[in-house]
C-alpha cells in the first residue's frame, strides 16, 4: 500500500513537472517566433520615425512605460550600489521605465549560453559572437555613418554598415607612473621618446629608491600587454595592426627613426640590460605591485588605462598615480591607441516597446550617466569630458585600430598561431624572453628581432600570405 502511494506521488510529481516544462517551453517559443517577425520588418516605428540612436530624442519619452532587464558583467558595480544609483537617476527622468539588472560573474561564457536561449533580457554587453551573427541576436542601433559622427569606437561591432554595439567606456594605451617618484627624480617633463624614457628611468634609479620599471614578468599576461603598443602607438598608422602587419616582411626591423615595434620592445630590453627593473623579476607579484606603485616604490609600469583605477584604489596616495602616453614619437607626434570596452546591445527578440525603452536606457547611459567618466574611461561621446588621468594625453593623436580588410579577417590569427609570436593574443612568452635576454645578456636584442622576423616570414610563406610592405 505504502509503495503504491509513493509511486502515485512520484508519478503525479513527474506529470506536474513535465507540464511545467511544457508551459515555459511553449511560452518562449511563441515569444521568440512573435518577435522574430518584428525583426524582419526592421526596427519599430516611433513618433519620430524608425528607431535609431541618433534620431531618438530622449526628452520626448519622459512618460514612456516599459519594463526592461539589463544583463552585465560589472559585478563590482552591482555590489557597491553604483548600478542602483545610476538607475535611480535614470528613473528621475523616466519614472515609468522599470530597469532590473543582473550582474553575471563568469560573463564571457555565461552570456554566450544565455544568448542562445533568446529570452535573456533586453540589454546586455556583446559577448564574443561572430560579426555575421550580430543581426540574428541584436537590434541594429543605427547606421555606422550616423553613429560615428556622434560617438567614438563604434566600428568594432558593426556589420554591413549597421552598428550593433556602443561601448560603455573606452580604454587607452599608455604608461602608468608615480608622480612623486618622477618629481623626486627631478623629471619635470614627461618623456616623449624611448631615449628620454630610458634617461628618466636612470634618473629614478639614481635619485630615488623606487624600482624604475616594474616588468610584472611572473604574471605573464602583463608582459603580453607590451604588444598593445605595436600598432597605432609605435607608428601612428591605424591600419597597421589589423591590415598591414600580416603583409609586412620585416615588422620587427629598426626603422631608424625611433618608431616601430622594434623600438617598443627595445625600451624593455634596454631597461633590463641596464638594471632598471626589479631585482628578481621571476617573483614579481601582480596584486602587490598595485600598492607599490601607489606608495612610490615603483616608478613606471606599462599597462592599459584600465589598470589606473586599480592602482589608485590600492593605497593611500591615489593622487600620485599618473598616466602618460607611451614614450614613442612618430614624426613629432605621440599617438595613443584607444578602443572600446564591452558594448551595449539590444535584444533583437525583445518586444517593440522594450526595444524603445532599451534604446532610451542605452542612450541615457552613454550620454547622461557619466559612468564612462567615473570608471576612468576614455570618452565614448565625441568631444565629451575626459577624466583628469588623461591630462597628459592632450596634444596626442588618439586613434583606434581599423578592422581587418574583408576576406582577411583570419589572417592575423593564423599568422600569430603559425609564427607563435601571438601578438596581442597571449604571446607572453616572447616578451618574457626579452626580459631574460636583456637581464642575463644571453642574446642581443637585434638577434631576437631577427629571429622574430624570420618566424614571421616563415609563417607568411607557410600560409601563402603575400608580402606587400
Amino acid at each position: 500500500m505504502k509503495k503504491k502511494l509513493l509511486s502515485y506521488v512520484l508519478a503525479s510529481a513527474m506529470v506536474l513537472s513535465l507540464a511545467g516544462c511544457g508551459g515555459s517551453g511553449s511560452g518562449t517559443g511563441t515569444g521568440s517566433s512573435g518577435s522574430s517577425g518584428s525583426t524582419v520588418s526592421t526596427a519599430p516605428v516611433t513618433e519620430s520615425g524608425t528607431l535609431s540612436y541618433t534620431t531618438l530624442n530622449l526628452d520626448e519619452y519622459s512618460d514612456f512605460t516599459a519594463s526592461i532587464k539589463f544583463v552585465h558583467h560589472k559585478t563590482d558595480r552591482e555590489e557597491d550600489g553604483t548600478m542602483a544609483s545610476m538607475i535611480a537617476e535614470f528613473n528621475k527622468e523616466f519614472p515609468n521605465i522599470t530597469v532590473t539588472t543582473e550582474a553575471v560573474t563568469d560573463y564571457a561564457e555565461d552570456s554566450l549560453l544565455r544568448l542562445n536561449t533568446g529570452d535573456w533580457g533586453d540589454i546586455m554587453f556583446i559577448p564574443a559572437v561572430d560579426k555575421s551573427d550580430l543581426a540574428t541576436y541584436f537590434m541594429p542601433l543605427d547606421s555606422l555613418d550616423n553613429l560615428s559622427k556622434e560617438l567614438n569606437f563604434v566600428s568594432s561591432w558593426s556589420y554591413d554598415g549597421q552598428c550593433y554595439g556602443i561601448p560603455y567606456m573606452a580604454n587607452a594605451q599608455g604608461v602608468l607612473y608615480n608622480k612623486k617618484v618622477f618629481a623626486d627624480a627631478g623629471i619635470t617633463q614627461l618623456p616623449r621618446t624611448a631615449s628620454e624614457f630610458i634617461a628618466a628611468l636612470k634618473l629614478i634609479s639614481e635619485k630615488t629608491d623606487a624600482i624604475p620599471l616594474y616588468t610584472n614578468y611572473a604574471a605573464g599576461w602583463t608582459m603580453g600587454a607590451w604588444d598593445a603598443y605595436v600598432g597605432v602607438v609605435s607608428n601612428g598608422d591605424d591600419a597597421y595592426m589589423n591590415q598591414k602587419l600580416v603583409h609586412t616582411a620585416e615588422p620587427f626591423s629598426d626603422p631608424g627613426d625611433g618608431s616601430g615595434a622594434y623600438n617598443v620592445y627595445k625600451i624593455l630590453y634596454d631597461a633590463c640590460a641596464q638594471g632598471l627593473i626589479e631585482d628578481d623579476y621571476t617573483t614579481t607579484d601582480w596584486e602587490g605591485c598595485k600598492g607599490m606603485l601607489n606608495r612610490g616604490e615603483i616608478g613606471t609600469m606599462v599597462l592599459g588605462s584600465w589598470a589606473y583605477a586599480q592602482m589608485q584604489e590600492a593605497g593611500d596616495t591615489p593622487e600620485n598615480v599618473g598616466y602618460m602616453p607611451f614614450p614613442i614619437t612618430v614624426n613629432g607626434t605621440q599617438y595613443v591607441a584607444a578602443g572600446g570596452d564591452y558594448n551595449y546591445c539590444i535584444n533583437a527578440k525583445a518586444s517593440d516597446d522594450n526595444k524603445i525603452a532599451a534604446l532610451i536606457f542605452v542612450k541615457w547611459m552613454v550620454e547622461r550617466s557619466n559612468w564612462c567618466y567615473n570608471e576612468g574611461g576614455y570618452t565614448v561621446v565625441k568631444g565629451g569630458a575626459n577624466p583628469d588621468m588623461y591630462a597628459a594625453f592632450n596634444g596626442c593623436e588618439v586613434m583606434s585600430d581599423l578592422d581587418a580588410l574583408a576576406g582577411e579577417e583570419d589572417y592575423l590569427n593564423q599568422m600569430n598561431a603559425e609564427s607563435e609570436l601571438s601578438i596581442n593574443a597571449g604571446g607572453n612568452a616572447k616578451v618574457q624572453e626579452i626580459v631574460e635576454a636583456g637581464a642575463t645578456g644571453s642574446k642581443s636584442f637585434d638577434d631576437i628581432m631577427a629571429d622574430w622576423n624570420s618566424r614571421w616570414q616563415n609563417a607568411q610563406s607557410e600560409l601563402g600570405i603575400n608580402v606587400l610592405y
Binding site: 614578468y217 611572473a218 605573464g220 631585482d279 628578481d280 623579476y281 621571476t282 617573483t283 607579484d285 583570419d410 600569430n416 598561431a417 607563435e420 601571438s422 593574443a425 597571449g426 604571446g427 607572453n428 612568452a429 618574457q432 624572453e433 631574460e436 637581464a439 642575463t440
Partner: protein, 332 residues
C-alpha cells in the same frame, strides 16, 4: 528445449542472473571509461595527423606533426628538464624509504611525524605553487630562514631567476609535495612484513641495516618498483610546479608546459596532440626499461644476490684451506 525457448526463464536462473548482474554492473564503468578515456584518446590520436585549431577547417598532413616534434628544438630540449625531475624523484624515494623504515618502528610522536610529512600531498598543487612562489621570492621565507642560520643575503642565489639552479628549486617543491605520499605507501608495505622475521634476524645477529637490506627491501619490492615507475613517468610529465611558479618561463618550461603553450596559446592542436603521443611512447619505453631493470635487480631478491653466495663460497673455501694448512702444520 524449454531452456532455449524461454529467455525469461533463463534470465531468472542462476546462470542468467549472474550474466545479468555482470553486464549491468560493468556497463556504466565501461561506458564511462570508453567515453572519457579511450574515445578522447582516439580522437587525439586522429588530431595528431591534422593541422588544425579548435575551430575552423582541418587539413590532413600525415606525419608532418610528428616530424616537427622531432625537429623543433624546444620540444626535446624540454625533455632534458625531465632529468632534473628524475634525479629529484630518486632523492625523494630514497628519503621516503629511509623515513618509512624509521617510522615503521617505534618512534616518539611517530603518528605526528607521519601526518606532518604526508600533509603536503593533501594540498592542492596550484596552492603548493603559490606557496613556493613566495617561499623563493628574494628576501622572503627561504632567504629569511637561511639568513637566520647565518647566511648573508648577498651570497644567496636568486632561487628562480638564476637559470643554473631554478630547475632544482622547482624539483625541490615536487619532492616536498610527493615524498610524504611515497612514504605512506612504503610504511603500509613495511607494516605487512611479519615481525617474527625481525626477531629471528636479531637472534642471528643481524643489525638494523641488514634487517632493512635482507628483510624489508625484498618484502616490499613490488611497492618499490611501483613507486619508482610512477615517479619516473611522473617526472617525464612534470607540469604543476613550473606552470604555476614560473609559468614555464626562464628556462623552466617542461615538455608538458610547452605542450600546453602550443595547444592553447598557439592553438596548434595537431602538433600538441602529436607531442602527447610521442610522450606516451617515451613513457611506455621508460616503463618497459624499468621493468627489465627491476627484473634484473630483484632476480634473486628472495634470499640474497648471487655475488654474496659466491663470496661466501670463496670465504668458506679459504677457511677450509686455512684449516687444512693449520692441520698440516700441527701434524708436522
Amino acid at each position: 528445449m524449454k531452456k532455449k525457448t524461454n529467455i525469461r526463464e533463463w534470465l531468472r536462473s542462476r546462470d542468467g542472473q549472474r550474466v545479468l548482474v555482470i553486464i549491468t554492473f560493468m556497463t556504466i564503468p565501461l561506458v564511462l571509461l570508453f567515453v572519457f578515456t579511450y574515445l578522447p584518446f582516439g580522437k587525439m590520436f586522429g588530431y595528431s595527423f591534422y593541422e588544425m585549431k579548435y575551430t575552423g577547417a582541418r587539413k590532413f598532413v600525415g606525419l608532418k606533426n610528428y616530424l616537427k616534434v622531432f625537429q623543433r628544438d624546444d620540444c626535446f630540449k624540454a625533455l632534458k628538464l625531465s632529468l632534473y625531475y628524475m634525479v629529484g624523484s630518486l632523492v625523494q624515494l630514497a628519503l621516503a624509504l629511509y623515513l618509512a623504515t624509521v617510522l615503521s618502528f617505534k618512534v616518539k610522536c611517530g603518528a605526528f611525524f607521519k601526518g606532518v610529512m604526508f600533509f603536503p600531498y593533501l594540498i592542492n598543487g596550484i596552492a603548493v605553487g603559490f606557496i613556493f612562489k613566495f617561499f623563493y621570492t628574494r628576501g622572503f621565507v627561504f632567504d629569511t630562514v637561511l639568513q637566520s642560520l647565518g647566511f648573508e643575503l648577498e651570497n644567496l642565489p636568486y632561487w628562480l631567476k638564476d637559470q643554473s639552479i631554478n630547475n632544482w628549486s622547482l624539483v625541490g617543491t615536487s619532492v616536498w609535495r610527493y615524498f610524504g605520499q611515497n612514504m605512506i605507501l612504503f610504511i603500509g608495505a613495511i607494516m605487512s612484513v611479519d615481525s617474527d622475521l625481525y626477531e629471528a634476524a636479531m637472534l642471528d645477529g643481524a643489525n638494523r641495516f641488514q634487517q632493512f637490506r635482507y628483510i624489508i627491501v625484498p618484502s616490499i619490492k613490488t611497492i618499490i618498483t611501483l613507486n619508482v615507475i610512477l615517479s619516473i613517468t611522473g617526472s617525464l610529465s612534470a607540469f604543476e610546479p613550473p606552470y604555476v611558479i614560473t609559468s614555464g618561463a626562464n628556462g623552466t618550461g617542461t615538455y608538458f608546459v610547452i605542450m600546453h603553450e602550443i595547444a592553447h596559446t598557439q592553438q596548434k592542436v595537431g602538433l600538441a596532440s602529436a607531442m602527447a603521443i610521442v610522450l606516451l611512447a617515451i613513457i611506455l619505453i621508460a616503463t618497459g626499461l624499468q621493468k627489465i631493470f627491476f627484473k634484473y635487480v630483484f632476480r634473486s631478491g628472495e634470499d640474497e644476490d648471487i655475488n654474496a653466495a659466491k663470496k661466501r663460497e670463496k670465504k668458506l673455501a679459504r677457511y677450509i684451506q686455512h684449516q687444512r694448512k693449520k692441520q698440516e702444520a700441527s701434524g708436522q
